[in-house]
Structures are given as C-alpha cells and as structure tokens.
Symmetry: C2
Subunit: 194 residues, 2 copies
C-alpha cells in the first residue's frame, strides 16, 4: 500500500544543516509577518549571515516558501495516514475531520503560510505532490466515486476551517473554545452526527 509512504517529491528532508536553519527561521518569520512581509534580509539577520548566503542555499524566495509550506503539508499527510488506518469509512471521516480541526487550531498561525499567500496557491495547484495529497484527502472524505461535487465540498470544508482559524476577528479566541465549535460545524457540514 502507498498509503503510509511519503509522497514522492514531498520531502520534509533531506536538507543540509544551513538549509534547515533557514527553513526554521522562515517558518517563524512567516507566521509573524506573513510571507510577503518577510524579506530575505530578515531571514539572513535572524540566523546571522548575509542575504547572499541565504541565496546560495535556495535559488529563490519561492523555494523557501515552498519548503516551509511542505513542512506544514507533511502534517496533513500524517492525519491522512491515521485516518486511512481506521476500519470503516465512517470512522475514517470522523478521525480525519477531527485531526484536521486539531491541526488547524494547533498550527493556527502557520496555516496562513500554506494557504493565505497569493504566491503559494497558484503554485501548489500545479504541484504534483500537493495535488496527490488533495486527491487522497478527497477520497478519504467523500469516497472514491465522488466527482467534482465531492472535490468542491472538500475544498469548501478546508477553506472554511482554515479561514476560521486564520481570521483576525477570532485571533483572541483561545484554542479550547475555538476547537469544539469548529469541530461541531465541520461535522455538520459533513453530515456527521453531533
């Protein structure tokens, strides 16, 4: 089964030590200032090197953004793995939506790294590994036979969850209040009881 295997091209590694330092600094800065609000200079200053040194590790800023986004995407893959191991389809959907909500709440700020930037979205929709993750997510949620209607529902659910956790109007809502309400509404969208 390919279910438990990492998707080709979606490497969380292998990165060299300098690359890993850059990614770590980037994720932190992207979360605080947004992608476009973070300059290579800021990343360079954070790890104490020059802008050109950063450039030697990653040819473009987009590559850094992509690496940071892939790190977040890998968490979603882990949720797919866990849900796929459940015995029934109902259980799969229940576990999956719960994990996704948990993940979204837990990584609240970082969700914007992968979803809120205009650079990433068009890029990822051309990105084979990303599409395969979405396909797998869609199959687990909606079943193998769901067509464009199923994909639309999956897209809406993901947009709804990430839109909610990212929204500034709920920035001061603490995780323990947000999570159950979010889960309840997500389950209702999926026609799950509760």
């Amino acid at each position: 089964m390919g279910a438990a295997e990492p998707i080709a091209g979606l490497r969380s590694g292998p990165y060299t030590a300098p690359q890993a330092r850059i990614i770590a600094a980037a994720v932190e800065l992207f979360s605080d200032h947004g992608v476009s609000g973070t300059s290579l200079q800021m990343i360079a200053d954070t790890i104490g090197v020059t802008k050109a040194a950063v450039y030697h590790q990653f040819k473009t800023k987009d590559e850094i953004v992509l690496a940071a986004a892939e790190a977040e995407l890998a968490r979603l893959e882990a949720a797919l793995d866990a849900a796929g191991a459940e015995p029934s389809r109902t259980r799969t959907r229940e576990v999956l939506v719960t994990h996704i909500v948990d993940l979204a709440v837990q990584r609240r700020h970082a969700v914007s790294v992968i979803l809120s930037d205009p650079v990433i979205i068009p890029f990822f929709s051309q990105h084979e590994p990303f599409r395969r993750v979405l396909d797998r997510l869609n199959r687990l949620l909606m079943g193998d036979d769901a067509g464009s209607a199923g994909r639309l529902a999956t897209t809406m659910l993901m947009a709804a969850i990430s839109g909610a956790v990212m929204h500034p109007l709920f920035a001061d809502l603490d995780n323990d209040t947000l999570r159950p309400e979010l889960l309840h509404l997500a389950r209702r969208f999926l026609d799950l009881p509760g």
Copy 2:
C-alpha cells in the same frame, strides 16, 4: 431604520474621474495578478500616465486596494439590503445565501481582491465600516442573539464560498455548473432544506 442606508465611510464614491480610472484599472489588474503582484507602474501604464500621477491621486497603494475592495464590498451590502427586506427570517436567510452565492460566482475572480490578500484582511478587521457590514451579515444569517458561535459559523460560510470560487482547481468549472452545487452545500451548512 439604518438597514437600507449606506454605511458611513463605505463610499463607492464620490471619486474624481482620474481616481475612478485608477480604481477600474486596479480591480482588473488585481484580479489578474493579485494585489502584491500588481505594481503602481502597471496601473500607471494601463491608463497611460506616470507612476507619480497615480501616487498623486492616492497617497499609498493601500488606499487603492481599499477603494477597490470597497467597490466589491458595496455589492455585498446590496445583497444585505435585499435580504433584509424579506418578511420572514427564513426567507431572509434563503435570499441572502442565494445572493451571496450568486455574487461570489459572478465576481469569481474579483473576490480575491477583497479576501485573498494578506494586506487586506488584517487591515479590514480594523476597518469600522467593514466590521459593521460583517455584523449586519451575521445578524441576518444567525439572528440577533447569536454570539461567537454564530460569528464563527458566518466566517466559515463566507470562507467556504469564497475559497471555493477562488480555488485554481475549479477555475475551469463554468459558472452554471458551479453555482447550484455551491448553493446546495451552502444551504446545507445553514441547515436550510434542499
């Protein structure tokens, strides 16, 4: 009643002719290249003037973005007006969700102007007129007594709808196919029949 009155500060006008030309060009360019992907130079070139001439009409790029976003937001207000005139609360919700879906599908690309840019979202959450539109939307959808749970549901619904119409994976889905499916899922989220 303030329901039918335009919200103070949310002017679609009055703009001078040069300003209106800039806004029109900006909306077009933002839709095609995104906000941060659109430079003042591109706007200037489109209407055949210099960058400084654009800068003379609007002191910052953010002001242009705001004006473009307000033009889109005014369309949402019109939907609120229409829905608010319905006799029953059920009818209000039905008409409102239908108009919002229609608007989102019809203005597919432009939705990103108001919702997808990292610059706009934090800015608008501080923007009084915008908050009042959101409050009014929330009351019409969820009722006067709905607290943070109602606001969360409203946020999720709007994020789901706009996320769906903006998603590149559905860019090739034509409007007449997208609209009914979107409406169906949105209604289900609101516990409306059908």
